[in-house]
Symmetry: C2
Subunit: 618 residues, 2 copies
């Protein structure tokens, strides 16, 4: 910015964030630079309409064609604009509707203690060394290695370069009494005696990130915390991120740096909670879907988004933490679990480990619901996996009044004796509907015959309206809502939900058919992930998305991927086993499965009994 | 440099280098920045007087006390100044005397072919892979690893991160036909089929650098080249370099970067000679003394220069070439051989390997002469080593008319029937005396009784003069020299040479005494290094520096360290053996050896018979 560029002062309300921005940046860019987490599903391309803001005062550019396509005329008259399409022409005050903010959502970080005894790759050893003298002129490196051999019987082959670069001062400052941290015959860290041996496990989701600080010796979880993935500002789904990363190598590096910066802050906060330092982190395990995995490691992502969709890297990787920009002990490694396929990533592997899928006795279905839903079927230790393009409905996107699971979202809905009841997150006035609420609504409308098996909204209900040729069911009247507009579910929304439901149901049915199993053969259905945890199982069983089994066969396990990451962190033996077993997982490409189209078309209908899957298919 | 800083234009003659420099830089700094390799033994501290230049025109700062101490009044009147003490006050023309330039010296790079069959760590494999399809969705990494396993029976565990970052485009660009370069179960490079597999071996001396380009498959040396170590501008000996590196971490990094930049240029030139590319370099082996080793790897050097003098790193290291800044294939490693002690480095280890010291049948002495002289005694595969502070006389420093072995240096000298004959490098008018010439002179004066056993110059010879209380022997009259001054050797020079001779002789005698051997027990004396190659053995035997053995027991082997580096480059088996055997080398600290003072004091006398070492010492 030179001194001649105009700039404007912009205040973002109700957050109270203010800053000055040069002319020519879109409001979306300004918001990002100010640290405002505006929703942007399409990554700023002007197609999703989710980055809606209200211009309270000041002059802005004229509405673009895209805005008049997406926004209503009355909305534009009230100052509503798409932030990615709008440019300041004067100082501005901008109001950000709650539904446009991706901030402060429910994050799933709690988790049980790790159910196995620790066997970490990194072990620490106390060393008492003699200082060099004329009769003992061994190099500092050899002195430490000899000490490990003689005092602990540990044969060491190498020392990390960064450790070697500071070895002389470390030994002398600590008067030749140090702790050496050894990982697979490599000294990765050397420091004052009695420093703790910490590990960090990260579940890096497209939207949410969960971090766990673990004592590597005891296996105890010392602290846990959830944050948002900061890449969300550059597109909400993996495809938008991949598109952003492919713009230029600099954009890819920027995405990588953003997430590392955020993970460093996360591990800083975790360490502070237990008054430890990041330099005591001796190992990290990170799991994420294949796209998050590739973006984190700055691997090529083009082939992830182009048929036949293959990962650049499927195998597990060990990378020096510093090479990725992480703040840890000098020579610490980051271990990333293997991926299964382009759309079944290391987080699903971790989830399988976290819910002990390999050890399951009867047939087990493991489902991780999201924009992309990964499902695996485990039978006697043999696992097959599929990936279903279930779409963003679960995150409230592509739904007229959809929103994230944050304050004011309708998360539960029922029709009792014909009258409507609902619940919002934090009990505030409703501003929209989040994923669990949307499926409750669909199930309730279906069960009350307001929506038929084909998904049509039937007209003979007082809450059903036809407005500008669009049929909708009014959930909440405008007098009760936070923004004074009706909250409804439209015929289009129902179609969107049918596609999501069909995708997941198809995945389940293909996995079962491939193995010659019927719904009732399934002993256990594990539903993981934040969304899966809040979902009303009865609703998704009612519409036919999940098999019609007794609820006791279902288990909502929360962040099983985080648990899997923790297990890999504290157990070298399990880590090896996971690698070996993951290579044996058979991935089924749905579109390639015989009879896929039939199975999918049938699954679009609501309810059960349309499939004939109560009987075993041979 | 702001716009308000004055600057001056300086021309360096006879080189014809011109540039503009800001006020406040010493002439030495200006010269370095202009790329003029001015000699500076003391590293710019104003004590060595070697950076002498002549101000031809323009104004400069007044002479400092240090200059009036070191330079003669008539010299200062003629415009001679010390570059490190002098600052421009106007545009300047500066003449650089030949003896102040460290440029263009004899560099020892030739060498025999490597006498063993190649067994390199890096092997290349041709792969024909199938493209991914709906029925084969393996990740790119797994596809390559599977190919190595199935097509070549090579189990691969990991792939280099940088290779993974480009794997997708490499495979697709080359239509799934590639060469994979594998090193210890790691894929370190992936590229077009039929790329050569090149290695580079470097002997990184304090002054000179020798580089060899080797075909890893055939073991053939494809090209060889010598260059100067660019760090020389920051101090000529290791101590001056260590002092410079310890000024600040930035200075240490700068020294590291300078040498890497120069080695990159060297390997570029080597590759160009055989029309190959640096990206085909799959492995490097670098050897150097412990200080050069530590500076190259940016390891701490403080403890190298402070009693009890220990290396930070003695063990062999494998470092990713890119982490040090080298231009090679993506995942190539640099291997550095182990060090023996703070003053017996990896270059001496390479020299021992290069002259097959471990396989020697009779007792073998291996001597690498320089400012620091390393000597080893090998008996039946058992090696003991010492380090002798022989001083810079061999490089012509600390000698009144000493200079490096470059054009105009007297490199051989004889007194035949009382009259003096000499030879200069390139046959030009003499400007000074280089190392081999200095020892010829001392030997000839001693053999002709002009210098007695105690080192005193005896007065009764027409060429002996007393000038300002300093006795000297005129080697060349001023009418015959390039600069119009006498070239002489002074009483002080003889004392300096006696110290150098005593240091080396003491090293040899301590090694022999330690083993209970006498001079005549030695079967072979290997003299390595550039200086060792040009030395007249008769001269150094005559003064007593080397044992009085028949010349047939001596072998002047040139750059044996370079040969050792080449062997380590092409043989994984030898590399392992070297590591193992080096750990067993016993280093003797001379000052700690019983009777050291006696042995040293006796060795100051010239000639043999003063030691009683013709008889076996029990």
């Amino acid at each position: 910015m030179t001194h001649h560029t105009k700039s404007f002062h912009i205040a973002f309300q109700p957050l109270g964030l203010r800053a000055r921005f040069p002319e020519g940046q879109s409001i979306l860019e300004c918001a990002r630079n100010a640290g405002v987490d505006l929703v942007s599903v399409c990554g700023g391309n002007g197609t999703c309409g989710k980055c809606k803001v209200q211009i309270v005062s000041g002059d802005v550019s004229e509405p673009t064609q895209r805005e008049t396509d997406v926004l209503t005329e009355s909305g534009i008259n009230k100052g509503y604009r798409m932030a990615c399409q709008t440019f300041a022409k004067s100082d501005l005050v901008i109001n950000i509707p709650a539904e446009s903010l991706s901030a402060l959502q429910r994050l799933q970080v709690e988790g049980l203690e790790i159910p196995l005894s620790p066997d970490p790759l990194v072990q620490s050893y106390h060393l008492e060394l003699s200082a060099p003298s004329l009769s003992d002129l061994r190099g500092d490196d050899i002195r430490v290695m000899d000490g490990l051999g003689k005092q602990h019987g540990i044969p060491c082959h190498t020392m990390d370069e960064a450790v070697l670069r500071s070895i002389s001062s470390t030994l002398r400052t600590n008067d030749w009494r140090v702790s050496a941290f050894v990982r697979e015959q490599e000294v990765i860290s050397l420091g004052a005696v009695d420093g703790p041996s910490l590990g960090v496990a990260i579940d890096l989701g497209t939207t949410k990130v969960a971090g766990y600080l673990v004592d590597l010796q005891t296996g105890k979880t010392l602290a846990a915390k959830g944050v948002m993935n900061p890449q969300i500002a550059y597109g909400e789904d993996v495809i938008a991120r991949i598109v952003h990363a492919r713009k230029s190598p600099e954009d890819a590096s920027m995405l990588q740096a953003k997430v590392v910066e955020s993970l460093n802050r996360l591990s800083h906060d975790l360490c502070r909670e237990v008054t430890c330092k990041q330099e005591n982190i001796q190992e990290m395990v990170i799991v994420g879907n294949t796209a998050m995995h590739h973006l984190l490691l700055n691997l090529p992502v083009g082939q992830l988004a182009k048929a036949p969709y293959v990962p650049a890297v499927s195998g597990a990787m060990d990378v020096k933490a510093r090479d990725l920009g992480f703040l840890t002990s000098k020579g610490a490694y980051v271990h990333v679990l293997p991926n299964i396929a382009a759309f079944v990533g290391a987080d699903h592997v971790a989830m399988l480990e976290g819910c002990h899928a390999w050890d399951a006795k009867g047939p087990l279905l493991a489902i991780d619901i999201g924009t992309n839903t990964e499902i695996s079927l485990a039978v006697d230790g043999h696992i097959t996996s599929v990936s279903c393009a279930s779409g963003p409905a679960f995150e409230g996107a592509h739904i007229s009044h959809g929103m994230r699971a944050s304050s004011g979202a309708i998360d539960h809905f029922q029709i009792i004796d014909g009258s409507v009841t609902y619940h919002t997150i934090q009990g505030t006035k409703p501003t929209g509907i989040c994923g669990s609420g949307i499926f409750d609504i669909l199930a309730q409308l279906f069960l009350n015959n307001i929506v038929d098996q084909s998904g049509r909204i039937i007209q003979d209900h007082p809450r059903v309206q036809d407005k500008q040729n669009i049929r909708e069911f009014i959930i909440v009247d405008k007098h009760e809502t936070a923004n004074g507009s009706n909250i409804s579910i439209t015929q289009g929304d129902v179609r969107e939900l049918q596609l999501a439901k069909a995708a997941i149901q198809t995945g389940i049915n293909v996995l079962l058919k491939d193995r010659g199993l019927a719904h009732e053969d399934v002993s256990e259905v594990v539903v993981a992930g934040a969304f899966g945890n809040y979902l009303d199982l009865s609703s998704v069983i009612a519409i036919g998305m999940f098999p019609n089994l007794t609820l006791s066969r279902f288990r909502q396990v929360g962040n099983a991927a985080g648990m899997g990451a923790k297990i890999a962190l504290i157990s070298g033996e399990r880590r090896q086993t996971i690698q070996k077993l993951t290579r044996k997982i058979r991935y089924i490409e749905l579109a390639d499965f015989p009879g896929f189209n039939d199975i999918y078309m049938k699954a679009i209908s609501l309810g059960h009994n349309q499939m004939g899957y109560s009987d075993k298919i041979q």
